[in-house]
Symmetry: C2
Subunit: 121 residues, 2 copies
């Protein structure tokens, strides 16, 4: 098993108003240069609430619905998968220092951030 | 710096006909259950040809064009970024054992595969 060297670059903070803040570590603030409100970003984050057992499951019930037959995790978007990296898109509302306020982010509070990319759409 | 424990689950093989094969390690074959030709998948892979220096750059010329001003890597899709994980989509042509033949994959031959997810579109 080859391990890849992936670092946490920040953390997701959910706000009470339903928006989220991508709080990058200060050392990464420069990487936000050029990111403006109105842009859409693709965010990669670590699904930190999964257990080691969740990472071993290769067939799961779609949407956790036990009335449905188990399917392979690579045919689904279930959080249970060998490498629990989530990919979601969000709209940029504000960029200030090392923080980005976004709307529409599908990630839990406290999720470690791995990457932010311009979204294609 | 918090490191996350990400494993290679397979490798990308480019074929002469321009298509690619996602060759998973045999232990992960079961995770392909339910994946059928005609489906679209999102593939996460490691951009293995980047150097350590490429991972440290936080501002780069868009598309490597030095006539353009440098911008932050989080406002671009440049391969140069702290965690060189590529996200691309591809159409499934064939699933056989632990291998998936796909069309449209934007990843170099030999790229370690990190994840395959159903694509939203």
């Amino acid at each position: 098993m080859l391990s890849l060297d992936v670092h946490r670059i920040g953390v997701v903070r959910r706000r009470d108003d339903g928006r989220s803040v991508l709080e990058l570590l200060p050392a990464y603030a420069e990487g936000l240069d050029g990111l403006e409100p109105g842009r859409c970003v693709q965010v990669l984050f670590w699904m930190h609430e999964l257990s080691r057992a969740d990472r071993r499951a290769l067939r799961v019930h779609p949407r956790g619905d036990t009335s449905l037959m188990r399917l392979g995790v690579f045919s689904l978007r279930s959080p249970m998968r060998p490498n629990p990296i989530g990919v979601t898109e969000a709209n940029v509302l504000e960029v200030r220092g090392a923080s980005v306020v976004v709307e529409g982010l599908d990630a839990l509070d406290g999720s470690p951030i791995i990457d932010i990319k311009a979204a294609c759409r």
